[in-house]
Symmetry: C2
Subunit: 799 residues, 2 copies
């Protein structure tokens, strides 16, 4: 079989088959000796697809035999070597440990058994006693608390790491208000300055007034226009309907996209102010009869807070850490939001929407309020809307807490587990459900270490971030400060922000490098013991959230929305986000009480997860995933999963080729170079995986480290220091938060953005040249990732 050319096996001209994922991943069972990295040109690739079955079958049969033989040989040899001399024996033990897997099953059992839902409940009770907004005294108290818990648990090092960052607060004396003005200038209606206190748990004097962080102060007055979710496509449709948002105040409902992008779209269209509200259609789908505190749905006075700042990190120190001596940009040079924005509840919104003039909105723009949704412009009876925002920018200190358990053999390899601790109010779901899990996890891990029952091979780093709610600020500044050691040493980052926001199924967001490990972890963990749930997490997940056409659970792309974003998109550290969620078919725009003052301990303890079994699931999945990453002799990363994901995004249904290939061809552009590079990457990944499967990577600790470094550093190659087109600090070429919706993870975001521009009024030579350049950068970057996987002598074997 020598000289056989590996080709990508999914047929690019047909739809993806249900079994193509498994077929694809099975191929690495080929023996390494049969692989020669010499990927075909695109033409070859097309041609060879048709003969693949025959060739692959032969290889698989041969490979299985050889593979089994090799496995038997290898294992039987290494296990028989037991020295007698005690001195040699000691040294030899270290040597063996360096080259052998620890007994994963035993450690898994200890970790899983020890995780106690009652501890998570108690953690959450303590964490949600009072509001803990970033930059306030409560931020520091929370940092001290987390540190003291870790110190008590026996964490080996704990540090509080402060940053001096620009934050934003409403005026405590002058709440932000929306007013309807009569034509004579008198008040007709005014919004509530704050939410109603409905339950014992939400009564606290430190509750911050509802506001959108970084929305500039200002009073704007004028005609009102309804813009649905304020997405780019909503504004486009609005224009088609003959209504112009320019110079108007606009009102949009929350949901579908990140609120910062709503502000950005409104500003781009010339709106001078933005009102955001939570529509019952998205946040109280059972109507006002069943709302908090009777259910988890949003009551009329409930208001979603949240930042409208779009970049990551401190607004004044982009790209560099906000330490004491850092240079601060001027406000006018930073990317702060441009127009006043204020959120209100639907109890207020109905009074405003009911007064609107103009044509009726399209059916799908109508929400759940008992009014006829109209587009505007303007209100009836020549009334006007006034938006009065008194937010203030303020430099304050926020705090990260970092704790470590040192790895036994590879202390300079970091498996990171993190969540933020700052909350808009009590934050019982966001973020404290995650922090409650994190603190139980750290308890269990430090306990096993202190009792001498376990020490991870690699270092585990626990992170509790500050000021995430303002734009991933604590994590971004930390990543900026410690870029070098992290780029060199971070194995992966596991994020648990909102641990539990429903009881339907586990769900994950991850880079493809981690798909395999995430599937394995969810298979190893029992699901919550309730009706409708399978015996393990994976089975429920697969049943309830199957990936289209593939026989695996669906894993979302990593966009933004929590701290994992900066680790992946700035540094190329493989990242994963874990959560238990509600049924996505429910129509909810998020868990209903998100960022309101009703995110209380009561909500979680009495309504969302009274048994804390769903919290336990997340803690256990995290524990098992971290154990695998920290203990495995060879890291469980799969370049072949990465290759498949990229291939699918190009050739699969709704892929980039389907969307753009034809239009690109009119300008002489094609995906050929990307195809060729991706084929090479695929072959390189499969060859490395075959080598790993058959333990053909060598028998010294340095050989183990070499393979692990290849696996660990592969994702770093997707980082281009020059960044994505027009987003210099977003540097991952394959995955990035969508520039139209920060929550969503685009694949090949540069192509998406440039083609969007071309299709929306910028169909010109310079934009096409940008695209041509970017597509060549993508091809180069994929090739560069492949170069990480091959040996030095093969480096120059360009496809």
């Amino acid at each position: 079989m020598s000289g056989y050319t590996i080709v990508f096996t999914a047929d690019p001209d047909a739809n993806f088959k249900a079994d193509s994922y498994n077929q694809f991943t099975n191929e690495i069972n080929m023996d390494e000796s049969e692989l020669e990295i010499h990927p075909s040109s695109y033409k070859d690739y097309k041609r060879r697809v048709s003969i693949k079955t025959l060739v692959l079958t032969s290889i698989l049969v041969a490979a299985c035999g050889i593979g089994v033989g090799v496995l038997i040989g290898w294992f039987s040899k290494s296990s028989e070597v037991v020295p007698n001399d005690p001195e040699i024996s000691d040294a030899f033990k270290v040597w063996q440990e360096a080259l052998e897997e620890t007994d994963g099953a035993e450690v898994t059992k200890m970790l899983l058994d020890e995780i106690n839902p009652e501890n998570i409940r108690e953690n959450l009770r303590l964490l949600t006693k009072k509001p803990h907004l970033a930059g306030t005294e409560a931020d520091k108290e929370m940092a001290d608390y987390v540190k003291s818990v870790w110190d008590t648990q026996g964490m080996e090092t704990t540090r509080i790491v402060p940053y001096d960052v620009l934050l934003s607060y409403p005026d405590p004396e002058k709440p932000n208000l929306i007013t309807i003005l009569n034509s004579d200038g008198t008040d007709y209606f005014q919004s509530q300055p704050e939410e109603s206190k409905l339950d014992e748990g939400d009564k606290h004097n430190d509750t911050v007034f509802p506001f959108n962080a970084y929305a500039p102060a200002g009073v704007v007055e004028g005609e009102l226009v309804y813009v649905n979710y304020a997405r780019a496509e909503d504004f486009k449709q609005l224009e088609d309907l003959g209504v112009n948002a320019s110079g108007k105040v606009v009102i949009a409902r929350y949901g579908k996209i990140f609120r910062g992008d709503k502000e950005n779209q409104a500003w781009l269209r010339g709106a001078k102010g933005l009102i955001l509200y939570s529509d019952p259609a998205d946040y109280a789908i059972e109507g006002s009869s069943s709302v908090y505190p009777d259910s988890w749905y949003m009551p009329p006075s409930g208001i979603q807070r949240g930042t409208v700042f779009r970049p990551m990190g401190d607004p004044l120190t982009p790209g560099y850490p906000a330490t004491e001596t850092a240079f601060r940009e001027k406000y006018e040079d930073s990317e702060l939001p441009n127009i006043p924005v204020q959120p209100i509840g639907y109890g207020d919104a109905i009074h405003i929407l009911r007064e609107m003039a103009g044509d009726a909105a399209p059916d799908e723009w109508s929400g759940g309020l008992n009014v006829t949704y109209k587009l505007g412009p303007g209100l009836v009876n020549n009334r006007n809307i006034k938006l009065d925002v008194n937010n203030r920018l303020q430099r304050n200190t926020t705090y990260n807490i970092i704790g470590t358990i040192t790895g036994s053999l590879e202390p300079d390899r970091y498996v990171m587990i993190g969540n933020h601790h700052d909350a808009w109010v009590f934050g019982a779901v966001d973020p404290s459900s995650g922090t409650a899990v994190l603190l139980e996890l750290s308890r269990v891990m430090t306990k096993l270490v202190m009792e001498g029952k376990w020490r991870p091979r690699r270092t585990i780093v626990f992170c509790s971030w500050g000021a995430e709610e303002y734009g991933l600020i604590g994590s971004t500044e930390w990543v900026e400060e410690f870029t070098r050691p992290l780029v060199e040493r971070a194995v992966a980052y596991i994020n648990i922000d909102i641990a539990v926001q429903g009881n339907f199924t586990f769900r994950g967001k991850a880079t493809p490098n981690l798909y395999n490990a995430l599937y394995d972890a969810t298979k190893a963990v029992p699901d919550a013991p309730f009706e409708g749930h399978s015996s393990n997490v994976y089975d429920t997940w697969l049943r309830r959230m199957k990936d289209n056409n593939l026989n695996v659970p669906y894993i979302s792309n990593v966009g933004s929305g929590s701290d994992y974003a900066v680790l992946l998109s700035r540094l190329g550290v493989p990242a994963v986000d874990l959560r238990y969620t509600y049924d996505p078919a429910s129509g909810l725009a998020g868990y209903p009480l998100y960022h309101s003052m009703y995110e209380t301990f009561y909500l979680v303890n009495d309504i969302l997860d009274p048994s804390f079994e769903y919290h336990r699931v997340i803690a256990r999945v995290c524990a098992e995933l971290a154990r695998n990453l920290a203990d495995s002799l060879i890291l469980p990363f799969k370049a072949s999963d990465y290759a498949f994901k990229m291939r699918r995004s190009l050739d699969g249904p709704d892929g980039l080729k389907e969307a753009y290939e034809e239009k690109m061809a009119t300008r002489g552009l094609s995906f050929d170079a990307i195809d060729i590079a991706l084929n090479y990457f695929t072959a390189a990944g499969q060859a490395l995986e075959a080598k790993i499967l058959h333990k053909r990577y060598g028998d010294s600790p340095f050989a183990v480290r070499k393979v692990n470094d290849q696996l660990m550093l592969m994702e770093r190659a997707f980082i281009d220091p020059q960044g994505l087109p027009n987003r210099p600090l977003v540097r991952h070429i394959v995955f990035a938060p969508s520039s139209k919706d920060g929550y969503f993870g685009d694949i090949f975001p540069g192509i998406m953005d440039l083609m969007y521009d071309i299709e929306n009024g910028m169909d010109n030579d310079s934009k096409w040249a940008e695209l041509e350049k970017h597509m060549s950068v993508i091809a180069f970057t994929i090739q560069s990732a492949a170069n990480t996987l091959v040996e030095v002598g093969e480096l120059h074997a360009r496809p």
Copy 2:
């Protein structure tokens, strides 16, 4: 001694003492247990300097005792463990190899003994048989030749790596000419189109016409102005003397700075054309009686060719490799030179200078021609100068050749040795003297490997670059293509371009990381056996090129001028350049025949190094340095040398503080943050070095790898992906080619450039803000390098 604060010991308020270098480096003899990284603030630092002697003496005495004990204990333990069971014994042998030094002295002896000057002579004879200009057929022939040599020698992998790049050639039919026009438009004088053939060795039909690569084609005519060396300060002086170069053709002598910067300065001052010539004062200092072929001095018709392109790499693909599918910028978007430039010999220049009008030039502007040097503007008798340049841009292929010897234990660590193979004509000195050495070195190393006498612990990568003469193009494209594996795996890059340009002393350019290893290598190698030379290379070097005030030989900063530049300034790979040179006090601007057609085998074989002993010295220093880097258990890098170098450039005589502190203070800027970061870096480096000295880094192969990774990757931390101010692709914050002279290596180049701007007409808020930001970036970057050196638990102990 617990809690003692390490401080930098050179007194910043006094001149550096002769022994301060040794004192500084000796401090790491402290035992690690006595070190706590908690660097003082700058105030502390100033205060503690005064009590340092007492404290250090106590520490040294205590530390020596402990150190010796530790050494005895460590060695006695590890050497006694010898297992009996043959199976264990085999595995254990690998384990021991992984943790023990190879016998360096034995390998050194084999390498040094085997290097044969007669082989170098024969290599050079073959390499210089005909011109081999980049992008011509001879470039490919040279690549094939080098590959075939390596294949024959037994190199384990060899690859030719082509790039499709933009090059520049004169018109073979229409040579570039300088003409003096009479006032009636008739020709008064015309320059020679080519050099005279003076010797058998320089007769060849493929000799390219003299030209400056990338100088645009064009005919410019007008008044002439003499601008000395065309440095920024020359133009400034010229203005003070009342002569304006704007709109004029200017004539400048070669020397002092890189010719591309002459073009840039001329263009910045508004000149419309530039004539370059080699003045006898710089290139024929013994007058016309003693020139080639009778001596190594430039004859009247000799012309220095050379590029006037300033950036590194292919002009059309900045930042990305010039592969087949790369995106090419338009010419107008690239940084190609702006005005026509043409070089001439002093045989022609004298006819032009003699005709000049205007005031006499200042004394120090007068060269060695027997004329009165005048400034212009214009020529006598209303004559004008005409510059007729017919260069053409052309995309051609250039070739790198890469060969490898795989490392035994750490194949994924690369020690690189390289030189370019393209030459302006025969290139007997530049670059073939280096290539002749490189091919002998590869012969010796592959021979020892094939004979089973040696295999380096780490991989050795041999590089033969294409198109260096055009702007480090082959190496830059390769570095751009293989950035990821190089950033992760390259230990160091050793450059030998011009191996021998004189017989006075060895000289090196290097990053401070490599000072120690370079000193050690030169101590281990005998110097050439001629009168005036000491027994080893180091001693001659120390005697003839002592570093000011320090008792060590002088090592230059790494600027540009050869391929090491891109490895260091783009990637942060420690780099060193090796050469045997003439007496710098001679007044020569370079070796006289540089880039002329008289760089022949005859020149080297009959005049420059008839015994090839100086070539042997360079080969041996390179061999020993590479061996040390490739074989040492712990890499011989010294962060403390880096710290000292930076400290000296700030506080030492002619340092940045002396130059700028006062002026900065008027704007509220200071070096405080940089001082604090540098103290922390110093302490971190010393602590790590103490740990290494006393072998306190742990006893597993992973521990060895961890320390080596810290040492290897420290320099990477000086790379800022955002680059230097206004130079985004020059990314090393500490060392970079000067923006005023590409040959020169600035330390803290960003400060130099911004202060230059401020002191030359841009003393405004925005420039000061740029400086303030950059100084905060420097402090951060030094801190970041320190973070590479400490343990994870110490990461957050900010100074």
